[in-house]
Amino acid sequence: MSELTQELKERIIKQLNLEDITLDDLQDDTPLFGDGLGLDSIDALELIVMLDKSYGIKLADPKEGRKVFETIQTMADYIEANRP
């Protein structure tokens, strides 16, 4: 599991251009949206694309994304549960 969270952290930092964030800044339970990392709606869409391209999971409803993308951990859990 920690391999997946590590991988997710690296992917997210790269995909979302989080150039001023280090891997240490990103805890498994850091809130990605709102007060934590402060990601926005476009970032959420990028995460949806990443879920599809890198893990083969299609999220059709952006609103569902908010729950899935709450933290690195919730993302990892979702991927583990839904990857084909």
């Binding site: 979302l16 989080l18 970032d43």
Partner: protein
């Protein structure tokens, strides 16, 4: 009709050839070895802005933001009624190219929403508006080259007719090939440098070593 009152260039910022010039002074020396992205990052860090949204922007929006940031260090910008009158030749080519590379890839076609967002030339202006909370008028023109012949009467007329205090205008040409040719300036009712075609051409063409 009243004759046009003279108006003045009260600040200007140039980003070109990996050199950043503010009001005639070179503030970031030529780093010709750096990629555009890395150079813009160094310009951002120099400003000490603490604005993480910067990293999501494309090169056009970054360069635009940096230039206006410098101007805002000497003149009131935030929360003012300062219209933006920007222009370029290649529109949003720097992001168009990236978006195109994604969607036309024969083996792995995909679109990145974060890239697509920047495939319009006025998004950089929008980023400036967000950063400085400007709800003012904003327009973006497409010209073959920096065209003070158009911008000068347009901006002067704006100040004259609309009773405004200040306008930000200029040229933001950033190429997909890493070229950067940006001149943004503030025009106000009081100042020293006359807002004329000759003066703008002089600022634009000068060698600032």
């Amino acid at each position: 009709m009243n004759p046009m009152q003279p108006v003045y260039i009260t600040a200007f910022c140039i980003l070109r050839n990996r050199q950043l010039v503010v009001d005639g002074r070179v503030v970031l020396a030529n780093h010709s070895g750096l990629s555009l992205g890395d150079w813009l990052k160094s310009a951002y860090q120099q400003l000490g802005m603490d604005y993480p949204k910067f990293y999501k922007m494309d090169a056009l929006a970054k360069a635009t933001l940096i230039a206006v940031e410098w101007i805002s260090r000497t003149l009131p910008v935030a929360g003012t009624n300062t219209p933006l009158v920007f222009s370029n030749y290649s529109s949003s080519m720097v992001s168009d190219d990236r978006h195109a590379a994604g969607i036309y890839d024969p083996d792995d076609a995909s679109a990145s929403p974060g890239v697509f967002v920047y495939t319009l030339p006025n998004i950089g202006m929008g980023e400036v508006s967000i950063r400085h909370q400007l709800h003012s008028e904003n327009v973006f023109f497409i010209f073959e080259r920096f065209t003070p012949e158009f911008l000068v009467p347009y901006v002067t007329g704006m100040l004259e007719r609309e009773g405004l205090q200040q306008v930000l205008a200029g040229w933001v040409e950033v190429g997909a090939d890493g070229t950067c040719d940006v001149l943004l300036y503030a025009v106000s009712r009081h100042g020293k440098l006359p807002h004329t075609i000759e003066q703008l051409n002089a600022l634009y063409n000068k060698d600032y070593e």
